[in-house]
């Protein structure tokens, strides 16, 4: 589908370079996912990987012309947002559950779990 300019397929080369850059970004985020010292570090790295894989789906659509990958990108953005929100709730619940007597608000005295 690419139009060549004077024998040089500029868009194809640009898409290939962008593939390399996006995959380098995914690999760097994956390194942070492995060595992240705390759980919020890993969640942020996972969120970054999801957003970059959405960009990867767009690049693949450009390269092959298969538009079904745009649906994949929509679903992936939705799943990434839901995963991030669920993991954030999980971190907050874990903190509240680990130290219920250290919470300062009077609505939940010690021994009672936060809603």
């Amino acid at each position: 589908m690419f139009v060549e300019i004077e024998g040089f397929p500029i868009l194809s080369v640009a898409v290939q370079l962008a593939f390399v850059l996006v995959m380098a970004g995914v690999v760097l985020a994956f390194v942070r996912l492995i060595k992240g010292p705390s759980l919020p570090d890993r969640v942020v790295a996972l969120d970054t990987m999801t957003v970059l894989i959405v960009a990867f789906c767009g690049l693949y659509t450009l390269q092959t012309g298969v538009r079904a990958f745009l649906d994949v990108a929509v679903v992936l953005a939705l799943i990434g947002f839901l995963a991030t929100v669920a993991l954030a709730r999980f971190i907050e619940r874990r903190v509240a559950r680990a130290a219920p007597d250290r919470r300062q608000d009077a609505a939940f005295p010690s021994g009672e779990d936060a809603p």
């Binding site: 868009l11 962008a18 942070r32 960009a55 767009g58 690049l59 745009l70 954030a88």
Partner: protein
């Protein structure tokens, strides 16, 4: 011809910002600072590449899906970053040494004071948080 050049520039800029997002995730010093990379650079990379997809095909269903992807990312990235940041602050993740913290932020967000007194980043005066400290109005 012009369309090809525009698509190439948009795709290359998107790839560059994707690489910057990964680099920022790896190299920045702190959770709250690392969220800048995923929220701004990552969303910009996906938005630029989706812009290239929209202008490359141009029919109605592709444009609708691309615009919906970009709008969804722009709507959900601040919400997700806000929730992760609040959870990280409540989980007492160690922050960077130069991060300045509002001394009333721990009481406002319901974070208990650190038990051991091992406090980084400007909160050394707020280890002995008493209930009267809220009424000072200090910022």
């Amino acid at each position: 011809m012009i369309l090809e050049l525009f698509l190439s520039a948009s795709v290359l800029l998107g790839g560059f910002f994707a690489f910057v997002a990964g680099l920022g995730i790896l190299r920045l010093p702190d959770v709250l600072i690392r969220m800048h990379a995923t929220t701004k650079a990552g969303t910009l990379a996906s938005g630029l590449i989706m812009l290239a997809v929209i202008f490359a095909f141009g029919d109605a269903s592709t444009v609708a899906r691309g615009v919906s992807i970009v709008l969804f990312l722009l709507l959900t990235a601040p919400v997700a970053a806000h929730m992760i940041g609040r959870a990280a602050f409540r989980a007492d993740v160690p922050l960077w040494g130069k991060t300045k913290i509002d001394p009333t932020a721990r009481t406002k967000l319901g974070v208990p004071p650190r038990p051991g007194g091992k406090v980084r980043a400007q909160t050394a005066s707020s280890t002995a948080i008493s209930p009267t400290r809220n009424t000072n109005g200090t910022t």
